[in-house]
C-alpha cells in the first residue's frame, strides 16, 4: 500500500521509493530509504501534508510525495 493511505498512529516498513532523483536524495538524507520503519504522527486537513517519525526524526512531507512511497503496514 501507499504511505499516503496510512492513518495517524499507523506504523509501516518502506518497501519501495518511486520518485525522481532529487526527491530520492532528499528522502535518503533524512534516513527515509527502503527498509526504514516509520510511524505516522500527524496529518493536516485533507492529508495535504503528513508528519512521519523515522529513526527518531520527525519529517513533514506532502501528500502527493507520500503517494510515491510504497509501504507495508506493521
Amino acid at each position: 500500500m501507499k504511505l499516503s493511505e496510512l492513518k495517524k498512529g499507523d506504523s509501516a516498513l518502506i518497501k519501495k521509493i518511486d520518485t525522481n532523483e532529487a526527491l530520492k536524495t532528499r528522502l535518503a538524507s533524512f534516513g527515509v530509504v527502503r527498509g526504514s520503519e516509520l510511524t505516522i504522527e500527524a496529518c493536516s486537513m485533507g492529508k495535504k501534508t503528513m508528519e512521519i517519525l523515522v529513526d527518531g526524526t520527525l519529517i513533514g512531507l506532502r501528500g502527493d510525495e507520500a503517494e510515491k512511497i510504497e509501504v507495508e503496514k506493521i
Binding site: 521509493i17 525522481n20 532523483e21 532529487a22 526527491l23 530520492k24 536524495t25 532528499r26 528522502l27 535518503a28 538524507s29 533524512f30 534516513g31 527515509v32 530509504v33 527502503r34 527498509g35 526504514s36 504522527e41 500527524a42 496529518c43 493536516s44 486537513m45 485533507g46 495535504k48 501534508t49 508528519e51 529513526d55 527518531g56 526524526t57 520527525l58 519529517i59 513533514g60 512531507l61 506532502r62 501528500g63 510525495e65
Partner: protein
C-alpha cells in the same frame, strides 16, 4: 602567527551558529553572502593559542549531494576552496541521521573533527554516547560539546590544533553490507596484486569509490591501462550488488548502505536510557499545534498577535523617530544660511536618512518574532499546516509569513522571505508581496473611497480592495509558477525539529545582524534614491516664478489670500520641476486609464513613498501639502475634477504598481540583483496598467 582555516559543516538545527558564538566568544562575526547567491555566510576570525582561527560557517544541509541551492553552495565550497580542517557538527540527540552527512564528508578525504553538540540535552534525555568507539569507527577525533553550557568547547579548540598539525587523516573502519564488502575485498585484492596506487587513496578506498561510481576517480582512471582488466571485475561485482539490493540505481544503493552504516554506528555507540523526554514533549505539543482542526486557528491567532505587536508597538518609536528627525532637520536647517545647502541637507539627506530609520522598529520587532518562530521549531509546523493551501498557487507553506507582513510594510516582508530556502519559492513570494497592500497605501484608499463612496460605504470598499489585492497576488503567483519559474516543484520534505525554548543569545545575534545589514545596505541606497527624487521634485530652479509670486504675496494683506497664492506657487513649481515634466511627458501613456497629468505626477511621486501621493495631490489641486486622507477639501476637489471611472482605475493602479523606493531597494537586495527590480517594475507596471485599463473601460 599561523593561520588555521576551518569550515563548519552540519545539518540544520544542530546548533552550529550557537557553537560558533561559543567558540569565538562572538567577537568579530561577519555576516554576508556566498558570492553570487543569497545564501548567508558567516565568517569569524579569532586567536587561540597563538594561532589565527579563520572559520567559515556553511549553510546547514542534510546532504552535500543534493540539488538545493544551499547544498550546492556547501558542496562547491568543500570541494574547491582551500581550508585545513572540517568541523562536522552533529546533534547528539539525532546521531543516526546526522551521521549520514558525516559519511559524505568523509569522502572528501580532508582532516576532520566531529563535534557532538547538545551533549547536555542528550544527557537530559538519558542518551549515552561512546565517543571513543565512534572515534575508532570513523577514524577522526570526536568531541562531545554543548554550545549552550560551553562544555567541551575548549577541548574542541585544542583538538583543532592537533588535527591541523597531524600529517594525514587515519583510515576509517566503516563496514558496508556483506555483499558490498565481498566485492570491495575482490577489487582491492586485485589492485594490491597489481601494485596499483592513485593519489593517497588506499586500495580499499579506491574499490569503494569504483563501486559507488565516483565520477572524479573514473575520469582519472580513464587513460590507465589497468582499466582494461578492471572493467570485467567491476561489472561482475556490480551485478552481484544489484541483485542484492534489488535495484540498479547506484545512488539508491549508496544511500541504503549509508543508512545501514549510520544505524549500525548508532546501535554500537549509543545507549538510550529510560526516557526520551524531549521526544514525548514534542509529540504532545504537536498533538495540539498541528492538530487537524485546532492547528490553523491557533496559528492565525499567533500571527495576529505578532502582526499587532509589529505595527502597534512599532508605531510608538516610529512616531518618535519621525518627530525627532524633523525636529533635528529644523534645528540643522536654522543653522544653515545658504538656501541651497539647507535644502540639500534638510529635505534631501536628513529626510532620506529619516525614511531609512523609520522602518527600523518594525524590522526589529518582526525579526524578534521570526527568530522566535524559527528557534522554537514552530516555523516548520507553520509550513506544514499551510502548505496544502499555498502549494495550489505555486507557493510554499512558509510564504504565508512574508505575505501577511506585506499588509503592514513591504520592507520587512521582503526580508522575511529569507526563511524560504528554495530559490524559486522565494522569488515568487518576493514578486507578489507588493500585491498585499501595505499600510502606506491606506491613506490613498481612504481618500478615494471616502470621496467617491461616502463614509458609510468606504469601509466595505476598503475591505474589497485588500481582499482583491491578496487574491490577485495568489493568482499572479500561480501565473509566475506556470509561465516564468517553470519546472518541477521543490520537494517538500522537511525536518520538524524538536520544540526548544528560544535562546536569547542566538535571537539577539539574528536580530542585531539583520538590523545592522538593513541599515548599512538598504540605508545607503535608499538615501541616494531619496536625494534623487528630491532633486527631481525641486529642480530646475524657477526664480522668475518665485519673484512674481513673492511680489504678489507682498501686496496682499488677507492671510487666506496669501495661503492661496503660496499653494499656487507650490503647484506651479512642482508642475515645472523635472518630476512634473516627466509626469506631463508620460501623460499619453496614462491617458487610456483616464488619468490627467496631476494624477500621473502623484503616482510617480508615489514611487518614492506612497505617503507622498496624498500630499502631492494636495499640492496639485492647489490646496497645499498639509492635507491628509480625511481632508474634506481635497476629497471635494477630487470629486469635482476626477470621474468615477478614473478614480477607480487610479485605486487599481495604486494597488498593484511598484512599492516605495525603500521597499524596492530591499527587494533588489533580497532577490539577488537589480535585474530583478527591473523585472518587478515591468511586471507590476504592466499588470497595473492592464487592470486599470479594464476597470476604466468598463466603468466609463
Amino acid at each position: 602567527m599561523d593561520t588555521i582555516r576551518i569550515v563548519l559543516a552540519g545539518q540544520p538545527n544542530v546548533g552550529k551558529s550557537m557553537l560558533i558564538n561559543a567558540m569565538s566568544g562572538s567577537n568579530g562575526l561577519k555576516v554576508g553572502n556566498f558570492s553570487g547567491v543569497t545564501v548567508e555566510k558567516t565568517e569569524v576570525c579569532f586567536e587561540h593559542h597563538c594561532h589565527q582561527f579563520e572559520m567559515v560557517d556553511l549553510p546547514g544541509t542534510y546532504s552535500i549531494r543534493g540539488f538545493s541551492q544551499e547544498e550546492k553552495v556547501a558542496h562547491n565550497y568543500l570541494q574547491n576552496e582551500e581550508y585545513d580542517v572540517i568541523i562536522n557538527v552533529l546533534d547528539s540527540t539525532h546521531l543516526q541521521r546526522n551521521l549520514l552527512l558525516t559519511l559524505e564528508l568523509l569522502k572528501l578525504n580532508k582532516k576532520m573533527v566531529l563535534a557532538l553538540n547538545m551533549a547536555d540535552e542528550a544527557k537530559k534525555e538519558g542518551i549515552e554516547i561512546d565517543v571513543k568507539q565512534i572515534e575508532a569507527i570513523i577514524g577522526v577525533p570526536v568531541v562531545s560539546v554543548s554550545a549552550n553550557t560551553k562544555m567541551g568547547v575548549e577541548e574542541l579548540l585544542e583538538k583543532i590544533h592537533e588535527v591541523a598539525d597531524s600529517p594525514k587523516r587515519e583510515d576509517s573502519n566503516i563496514v558496508y553490507s556483506d555483499a558490498v564488502e565481498e566485492e570491495i575485498l575482490e577489487i582491492s585484492t586485485f589492485l594490491d596484486d597489481k601494485g596499483f596506487k592513485i593519489r593517497d587513496l588506499s586500495s580499499r578506498e579506491v574499490a569503494i569509490r569504483l563501486l559507488f561510481e565516483d565520477k572524479d576517480l573514473y575520469k582519472e582512471l580513464h587513460d590507465e591501462p589497468i582499466m582494461m582488466e578492471l572493467q570485467p571485475i567491476l561489472l561482475k561485482s556490480l551485478q552481484h550488488i544489484y541483485t542484492h539490493h534489488e535495484t540498479k540505481n547506484i545512488t539508491e544503493i549508496k544511500y541504503n548502505e549509508y543508512n545501514a552504516i549510520a544505524r549500525g554506528i548508532r546501535m554500537e555507540t549509543v545507549q538510550c536510557g529510560r526516557n526520551r523526554g524531549g521526544k514525548n514533549r514534542t509529540k504532545k505539543i504537536d498533538d495540539i499545534l498541528i492538530n487537524k482542526y485546532l492547528g490553523i486557528p491557533i496559528f492565525l491567532f499567533l500571527m495576529w498577535g505578532l502582526f499587532q505587536l509589529t505595527f502597534e508597538l512599532g508605531a510608538v518609536p516610529m512616531e518618535f523617530i519621525d518627530a525627532g528627525v524633523s525636529a533635528f532637520g529644523d534645528w540643522i536647517g536654522s543653522t544653515i544660511s545658504n538656501e541651497f545647502m539647507r535644502s540639500v541637507i534638510v529635505d534631501g539627506i536628513i529626510a532620506g536618512v529619516g525614511a531609512v530609520l523609520l522602518f527600523l522598529p518594525n524590522i526589529i520587532i518582526l525579526y524578534i518574532g521570526i527568530a522566535l518562530l524559527e528557534t522554537t521549531g514552530y516555523m516548520s509546523r507553520v509550513a506544514f499546516l499551510l502548505d496544502g493551501f499555498f502549494h495550489k498557487f505555486g507557493l510554499h507553506g512558509k510564504s504565508f509569513i512574508p505575505l501577511v507582513t506585506g499588509f503592514g510594510c513591504s520592507v520587512p516582508a521582503y526580508m522575511a522571505a529569507r526563511t524560504l530556502k528554495s530559490e524559486k519559492d522565494r522569488l515568487i513570494t518576493l514578486f507578489i508581496i507588493g500585491f498585499m497592500s501595505c499600510g502606506a497605501r491606506l491613506p490613498i484608499y481612504v481618500l478615494f473611497t471616502g470621496a467617491f463612496f461616502g463614509q458609510d460605504q468606504a469601509g466595505n470598499m476598503l475591505f474589497v480592495i485588500y481582499i482583491s489585492g491578496a487574491l490577485l497576488g495568489l493568482v499572479m503567483a500561480k501565473a509566475l509558477r506556470v509561465f516564468v519559474f517553470k519546472g518541477e516543484d521543490e520537494p517538500f520534505v522537511m525536518e520538524m525539529p524538536k520544540y526548544r525554548l528560544p535562546s536569547l543569545t542566538l535571537m539577539w545575534h539574528t536580530v542585531y545582524n539583520n538590523a545592522k545589514s538593513y541599515v548599512k545596505k538598504a540605508g545607503t541606497f535608499i538615501l541616494g534614491a531619496s536625494v534623487l527624487i528630491w532633486v527631481l521634485a525641486t529642480y530646475p530652479n524657477q526664480p522668475i516664478l518665485e519673484k512674481e509670486y513673492k511680489s504678489k504675496i507682498e501686496l496682499i494683506k488677507d492671510t487666506k489670500e496669501v495661503i492661496k497664492l503660496e499653494n499656487e506657487l507650490k503647484l506651479k513649481k512642482l508642475e515645472n520641476s523635472y518630476l512634473g515634466q516627466i509626469g506631463k511627458a508620460s501623460e499619453p501613456f496614462f491617458a487610456p486609464l483616464g488619468f490627467d497629468w496631476r494624477m500621473t505626477v502623484a503616482l510617480e511621486a508615489g514611487l518614492a513613498a506612497k505617503e507622498v501621493v496624498v500630499s502631492t495631490l494636495g499640492v496639485l489641486y492647489a490646496i497645499g501639502d498639509n492635507v491628509d486622507e480625511n481632508s474634506n477639501a481635497l476629497a471635494n476637489e477630487l470629486k469635482a475634477n476626477v470621474s468615477f471611472a478614473s478614480a477607480m482605475a487610479f485605486i487599481v493602479f495604486v494597488m498593484i504598481y511598484l512599492p516605495c523606493l525603500a521597499a524596492s531597494m530591499v527587494f533588489a537586495k533580497e532577490a539577488g540583483g537589480y535585474k530583478y527590480l527591473v523585472y518587478l517594475f515591468f511586471f507590476t507596471t504592466v499588470t497595473a496598467w492592464i487592470l486599470s485599463f479594464i476597470t476604466y473601460q468598463i466603468l466609463a
